[in-house]
């Protein structure tokens, strides 16, 4: 899922986003709650109508953004307390308020408010409190959800890196029988090994027929390994944010288009790519060269738009290739091809990926 934080994807028209094959994108509840605000969302008729997007929208609960953006946010049993970035007045985001906001947004998938701690927090007691509180908040969210027939509420598994706590949380959350399940709290700081252990521990306990969403994940290797570990959906700001800094995501790794070596490179951003930026004119594309992206990167907004189109297409196409290889029963081969394209030598493969894949019977170094 590409992340359209404030109900738009970084300068792309919705047709351009649609052409990347995107059918589900993420809006941030916290941002939409501030601008345009709940009153406007109600008046306009929700986020789909606001942005003219007739495909799916997923919204986060607003809690994670608040805790990560506002240092002064404090969490109590009632909810997340913070100072309004508008006028500094004290505000409170409760599970009930998060549901009300997400009902106003009208997202197809909404997330419960959870008590998020960084997974690397050493405070085990606080971690347990956060995990148990997240379960209690799910109950409050379910009770407060006004449109369960049209909007799907996903629970979020917490518990940091403590696998026993994660198991306990899975068990409690699964009992609530939400239409989908997210694995939360994993966005960065932790070691990749720990990340993989958490994902595989959770997916082992989750029902087969419910989507499993690992939140905040977006590096291509993470996506491929997480699917192998049993996850289904992901979101990340990285592909679009990195586009604005001039970086192109390709099957051979991330290329910084601002680098002088691309100034005279007249190839497409990625050879063989099917995005509208890279496709030749006779195939309906723009035939944009690396040299032109270099020429306008960080100079004209169009430079960022072009790479955003490419990067979003890359991510969605990667997931499409994964799905096709699973259907064709050749997913392990696909994983080997994927790592083979990304690294010159098998010795360069990240150990965490080799180990995690070995645990699900995929040998990368065959």
């Amino acid at each position: 899922m590409p992340v359209a934080t404030q109900a738009s994807l970084k300068g792309l028209t919705y047709e351009q986003l649609e052409q990347t094959s995107c059918r589900l994108c993420l809006n941030n509840t916290y941002h939409l709650g501030l601008k345009p605000g709940q009153e406007t969302l109600d008046a306009v008729g929700g986020a789909h109508k606001l942005q003219g997007w007739d495909h799916n929208i997923l919204t986060d609960s607003g809690g994670f953004q608040m805790v990560s953006l506002l240092e002064l946010a404090t969490i109590t049993e009632e909810g997340v307390r913070f100072l309004s970035p508008h006028d500094g007045s004290p505000m409170l985001l409760t599970p009930e308020h998060s549901m009300s906001l997400q009902n106003s947004i009208g997202s197809d998938i909404m997330m419960q408010l959870d008590d998020v701690l960084v997974t690397t927090s050493p405070d085990a007691a606080r971690m347990r409190l956060a995990m148990e509180r997240s379960v209690r908040w799910l109950d409050r969210c379910i009770a407060a959800h006004k449109k369960p027939e049209t909007q799907n509420l996903f629970c979020i598994i917490q518990g940091g890196l403590d696998l026993e706590m994660r198991k306990e949380c899975c068990e409690e959350m699964v009992k609530r029988d939400t239409p989908g399940i997210a694995i939360g709290g994993l966005s960065g700081g932790e070691a990749k090994d720990d990340f993989c252990r958490v994902v595989e521990t959770c997916t082992a306990l989750l029902p087969d027929l419910k989507p499993r969403y690992v939140m905040g994940i977006g590096f291509p290797e993470d996506l491929v390994v997480s699917v192998a570990l049993g996850a289904d959906m992901f979101d990340c700001v990285w592909p679009t944010r990195t586009a604005r800094f001039g970086a192109a995501v390709t099957r051979h790794g991330v290329l910084n288009m601002r680098n002088a070596r691309f100034a005279h490179d007249f190839g497409p951003v990625e050879t063989g790519c099917g995005c509208n930026c890279c496709l030749s004119v006779d195939k309906g594309g723009m035939a944009v060269t690396r040299a032109f992206v270099h020429h306008n990167s960080a100079k004209e907004t169009v430079g960022a738009h072009l790479l955003t189109i490419h990067n979003v297409y890359y991510q969605l196409n990667l997931m499409r290739q994964i799905r096709e290889s699973i259907i064709a029963q050749r997913f392990p081969d696909f994983i080997r091809e994927f790592f083979g394209n990304l690294y010159e030598d098998t010795e360069d493969y990240p150990t965490w990926a080799v180990d995690a894949l070995r645990r699900v019977n995929v040998d990368l170094i065959k």
């Binding site: 300068g11 003219g52 953004q65 007249f266 004119v281 723009m286 944009v288 020429h295 100079k299 907004t301």
Partner: protein, 452 residues
Amino acid sequence: MSNSNDPAPNGASKPTFTIGTTTPSDATDELCPRLGTLQLPGRRTVETPNFTAVTSRGVIPHLTPEVVSKYTSFSSAYISLEDFLEKKDHAILKMPTTDRPLHAFTSFPTHIPTIVAARRCPSVLAPGGNTAKNISIFTSTGFSTITVPKFAATVAHIRPDIVIPLADLLHISLNPSLKKKVRMADRTESWMDEFLELVNADVRESAGIKVFAPILPIDHATQWAYINHLNEDLSGDLAGLAIYDVNILPDLQLYKNLTSLPKLSLDLPKTPHDVLRQVALGVDLVLASFVNVISDAGIAFSFTLPTDGDIPTDGDAGAIRPLGVDMSETAHATSLEPLLADCVCYTCTKHHRAYVNHLLHAKEMLGWNLLQIHNHHVLSVFFSSIRTAMGRGTFEAAREAFGRAWDVDFPQGMGERPRARGYHFKSEVSQEKYNKPVWKGLEPGQGVMADV
């Protein structure tokens, strides 16, 4: 982009500009608005009067080439060479292509003709000014200079459809002394000769380049010798004129070999009223840089030309109509209306005011993108109405009605502008900071709102 409508045969020597029926009398004799068509090899036919859109670094600001191709219909694009001269060996000079390198490098839609001049429009004043051999330019890495041979070689290589050769323009003072004005005319004349020798008829024929001669923004008396030279000796080499000050148009009527040439105005209009005045003076193409400026200000155009001269009766009949509506005003926060009633542009058919209002408040780039689509569209419709009125013989009545019904100026947009880069403008002493400081947390210790 290959949806070229009516591609013309590749005969570069065929007449490119045809003057159609005009009123009240034959346009070649008297100063009056005129209808025409401009046909460049391989490009979509341009009906005139029309406007030329202004690019920055080879792109219409905020619009990817596919958006330009699908959702705009402007006649031609102005591209400044200084946007490609920050390095000695810029990639555009090495582009391996059988097509025109300028179109290919910028991925510009191939049905749209390109017009190249040395400087951006408006251009940044260069402190050094020009010398007899070196013309000052301003690139993204700072001031630099270019000579006529370098300019000629670059143009012959990148192959724009139309080139405006170097002119000794007012790059230092806006009000030069007579001595300087005389020198401007002399230099421009000799640069013109030098350019036409280097990019001679054979080069132009094989590269498919047409030349629009610059007419300087100084009085006729000071540059008559230069213009006379164009008229007497060079008219066969010229495909048009680039007018830097439209007030000279009455004087140009004296030169019979020049009257039938298309006239592109680089005397930048600020409003549709200015546009109508220029068209009335016989301008065929208007460089509309104000579209980019007004879009960045968060303003949606809201003007139409009443072709029959009747002021539209909707709304408050007596009230002065605004030329544009500030989409950042909170009044639009929940409005599901299009930016302009009955507008058929992509923005107005797909979105509403509430969304554009939200995007401007959230500083999301799509807001300026959608405004650019709408504003370019409204101006295209405006020009189409100009041509319709001229065909019906009602242009003067329409212009008069427009002058009475619409406000003299655009509203001041209160929304945030997109971030400006150094090459967009040059800050001058005591000028207000263009880029406001980014928003910080209100409380000490409170985190900065990151762009997530």
